[in-house]
């Protein structure tokens, strides 16, 4: 009887261990874990070009199902996520950042801010992204902050975002980008300007 109970205990413990480790490694639990995953890292912007395809490993597949459902395969679009500023500190609502960059190797691009639940933060500022059609060609910059900056210019609102991340979408990516992302993509910079205490 004691032997049977010992085995039963191991079955339960093993199943819980397997379940928990899978959810943890796939980024499904606990909620709000880092989304910067994948085998492509361009200046801190992380991506997995297997997203959306059968080639994705089980961890990527599970993570994308939870955080990027209905993402397109790389021939149509690639997605990069950034969770830290240029100094390596996590992005957070209490800070103001300067986001800057230039032309991208894609037909169209956008940068969007998401909260820790992978949702648009619950504000009504109508300023949650920046895209190629708004900044034109060449160099561009925008402020990321919870309040609209004085003096106009491009703004991405982080109000009610808490800890957040940025997703760079590159639609109709150039073939060379898929082959050599580090050589072809000049990643946007995220300079931290100030933080509230």
């Amino acid at each position: 009887m004691r032997g049977a109970l010992r085995y039963l205990g191991r079955v339960v413990a093993g199943s819980l261990l397997g379940l928990g480790s899978a959810l943890w490694l796939a980024g499904l639990w606990p909620e709000g874990r880092s989304l910067a995953f994948g085998n492509v890292d361009v200046g801190g912007w992380r991506s997995d070009f297997a997203i959306g395809s059968k080639a994705a490993d089980p961890y990527t597949r599970a993570r994308v199902a939870r955080h990027g459902l209905l993402a397109l395969a790389k021939s149509e679009a690639v997605y990069f996520t950034r969770v830290t500023d240029d100094m390596g500190a996590p992005l957070r609502e209490a800070c103001t950042y300067r986001l800057s960059g230039g032309a991208m190797p894609a037909g169209w691009w956008s940068i969007t801010l998401y909260d820790a639940r992978s949702m648009l933060p619950a504000n009504t500022d109508n300023a949650l992204s920046l895209d190629a059609s708004r900044v034109g060609t060449g160099a561009w910059e925008a402020i990321i902050s919870p309040e609209r900056p004085a003096g106009g210019g491009h703004w991405i609102s982080s109000r009610k975002a808490g800890a957040f991340d940025l997703t760079l979408r590159l639609y109709m990516p150039e073939t060379a980008l898929l082959a050599e992302p580090n050589a072809r993509l000049k990643p946007p910079q995220i300079e931290r300007l100030e933080c509230e205490q």
Binding site: S15, A22, L70, E76, L128
Partner: protein, 180 residues
């Protein structure tokens, strides 16, 4: 030592099994829950539902882009004698028609910038056919994306979207190809 060998082996086997099963079923489970949630929010079966512009208040799917117009159509080709006829109306800027199976795989995408696109979606196991796409699973989601970064662009995309079609039609029964 020997007393613990058996239980430890059982623990490791159960852990590995639960780990693999969780990873295997997680995408299908998440997709199934997402499809249920979409249905509850009015996304139609075999029809494109006119979307609201993506805002923090209207968002339905994680990581939606506020710069895109998204029109969704759920499909169920459990009956192998049916198919889905699709048309994506013409839009002057970027647009695409993408297909996602019950495992979340993006198994096909058609780009249609500046032109209308029509295609037929066939049930799993159908023989290949010109102008048709075969779904790997009987259920899934079809998604039209249109570049529409402003409210004005979105309103125009919604007007164009009235010409989109996703409808279930009766087709000839699909037979397995003859064995050689």
């Amino acid at each position: 030592m020997k007393r613990w060998l058996g239980p430890m082996l059982v623990l490791l086997v159960c852990a590995a099994g639960a780990h693999a099963l969780t990873l295997h079923f997680a995408p299908s489970l998440i997709m199934s829950r997402a499809m249920t949630a979409l249905a509850e929010r009015g996304v139609g079966l075999h029809r494109f539902t006119p979307p609201a512009r993506v805002t923090p208040q209207s968002q339905q799917v994680v990581r939606s882009s506020p710069d895109l117009y998204y029109a969704l159509c759920r499909y169920d080709l459990g009956n192998s004698a049916t198919r889905v006829a699709l048309t994506m109306a013409a839009w002057p800027d970027y647009q695409s028609l993408s297909f996602f199976d019950a495992r979340t795989d993006n198994f096909a995408t058609l780009r249609g910038s500046g032109k209308a696109v029509s295609v037929t979606l066939l049930p799993p196991g159908s023989p290949p056919r010109q102008g048709a796409i075969i779904t790997p699973t009987s259920k899934g989601v079809i998604l039209i994306r249109r570049l529409a970064p402003s409210a004005e662009d979105f309103a125009k995309a919604a007007q164009v979207g009235a010409g989109d079609q996703c409808r279930l039609v009766a087709g000839e029964r699909v037979n397995s190809p003859p064995q050689p």
